[in-house]
């Protein structure tokens, strides 16, 4: 993995920024406004420390200690009827505070409520696996490890799930470039042909603005195909689509546009 560099200003700056612009925030309301959530929060608070709790978009968000996660989820599953773990993953706050925010999205089918459990861990720390409580955490924790490099302690098979096993780097980190680092750029060439082949195959062409009407293959113009490496002049004549050679083909009837029947009716 590459060394961390702050990327606050990595994007091109906008031409115009409103000095008085305030980014809109999703309004947060206190938990007391919802009876079900208030009761759930009281049950969690009885046994565990809660740092912050609020309701946002009709869902309760609860911040807890990192060590309590297994106990909290067990309590919610067995006593509070939150029987499903819909989703879990991490948020990269490394640039701000060298921390990851881990979230667990819980669903109760009986109460028709959703609760999001959250906590912070320091960069480099591992989380406690909840795979024993929810089978859905199995792949979610593997994906979190794959994408962020956060390991889950007690997971039975802590390996990458999306990227290949021999991949280096964790792609969802904010420091990871979208087009890949050097390892990613040469991954398939190195693996299949070896590092010596880099010079022969060449770097990836990733310039999306590159337009070459006369590129060697000319696959961009239907009806104007040329063999690879053919000389293409600037004023090429209009080529009518010719499906077959002029003299016809052995044992294959030559396509004759005049004598062929054209079906005009799409509803035939």
């Amino acid at each position: 993995m590459r060394a961390y560099k702050p990327k606050d200003n990595v994007q091109a700056k906008a031409y115009y920024t409103d000095r008085y612009y305030v980014a809109p925030q999703v309004p947060k309301t206190p938990v007391d406004e919802d009876e079900v959530f208030a009761a759930d929060l009281a049950a969690i608070k009885e046994k565990f420390e809660v740092h912050d709790a609020y309701i946002q978009v009709e869902q309760m968000v609860v911040y807890i200690n990192a060590n309590d996660i297994y106990g909290v989820l067990e309590l919610m599953r067995d006593e509070l009827e939150y029987t499903q773990l819909s989703e879990m993953s991490a948020i990269d706050w490394i640039a701000k505070s060298n921390q990851f925010e881990i979230f667990y999205q819980m669903l109760s089918m009986t109460k028709r409520k959703r609760i999001r459990i959250k906590y912070f861990i320091n960069n480099g720390d591992a989380v406690q696996s909840v795979e024993k409580l929810f089978r859905s955490a199995d792949w979610a924790e593997r994906e979190m490890y794959d994408m962020f490099g956060i390991e889950a302690k007690g997971h039975p098979f802590m390996k990458r799930i999306l990227m290949p096993y021999d991949w280096q780097g964790h792609p969802l980190l904010k420091t990871y470039p979208l087009e890949g680092d050097e390892f990613a750029a040469w991954y398939e060439v190195d693996k299949i042909y070896g590092k010596e082949a880099r010079d022969i195959i060449g770097p990836e062409l990733r310039d999306t603005a590159r337009v070459d009407r006369y590129d060697s293959e000319r696959f961009a113009r239907l009806g104007h195909e040329v063999p690879r490496g053919a000389e293409v002049s600037d004023d090429d004549p209009e080529v009518t689509q010719n499906y077959q050679e002029e003299g016809g083909v052995f044992l294959v009837k030559k396509l004759d546009k005049e004598s062929s029947k054209v079906i005009d009716d799409p509803q035939r």
Binding site: M163, P164, P171, Y176, P177, L178, E179, G180, D181, A184, Y187, E188, V189, K191, I192, Y193, A197, I200, I201, E204, L205, R206, T208, E217, F219, A220, R221, L222, E225, P227, Q241, Y243, Q244, E245, V249, F250, L251, V252
Partner: protein, 169 residues
């Protein structure tokens, strides 16, 4: 002697045709292009449509095979990820020669809109490609046209001469 007095020299009298070895070998190769099912993404749906009854690839002699050892042409239809790159190379190596590759759609040609860390920027970085089809996704007619162009390309070859095996490098 046959009773119906066949005139062997008359055109159409018997299925006898005079031709060259080149033409008959190329006729056999170009009109039974068995394609390997290589649907990787949405282009694969168009490839299936081209194979199904409405567009009907069978009349070109193109029949989809699920094994690289029985197929002549590999139609790479869809996004090739870096994780999958080694498998496409392995399957290409398992095909018997002569073999051809059609790169179908923008993703297979250049990586397409997936300008990301996980996508191979064109299958021609891994295997030699004979024909690039434009489109996202190309219509089945485009694939039919591409197969016809490939047939034309095969017929232009000298079949009698030992063919140089295509290698990327």
């Amino acid at each position: 002697m046959a009773q119906h007095k066949v005139n062997y020299t008359q055109d159409g009298g018997l299925p006898v045709a005079l031709t060259s070895i080149d033409k008959i070998v190329n006729w056999g190769r170009s009109n039974s292009l068995w394609a390997m099912t290589y649907g990787l993404a949405c282009c694969g749906i168009e490839m299936m449509a081209a194979g199904a009854s409405r567009y009907d690839f069978d009349r070109f002699g193109t029949i989809f095979r699920a094994s690289p050892r029985q197929s002549d042409v590999m139609i790479v239809a869809g996004t090739l990820t870096k994780k999958h790159a080694e498998f496409i190379k392995r399957l290409y190596d398992q095909m018997t020669e002569p073999r051809w590759v059609i790169s179908m759609g923008s993703c297979a040609n250049t990586g397409g809109m997936f300008n990301t860390y996980a996508t191979v920027q064109g299958v021609d970085r891994i295997i030699p490609v004979d024909l690039y089809l434009p489109g996202c996704a190309p219509r089945p007619e485009t694939l039919q046209y591409g197969v016809m162009l490939l047939q034309k390309k095969i017929r232009a070859n000298k079949a009698g001469r030992a063919q140089k095996a295509k290698r990327l490098m």
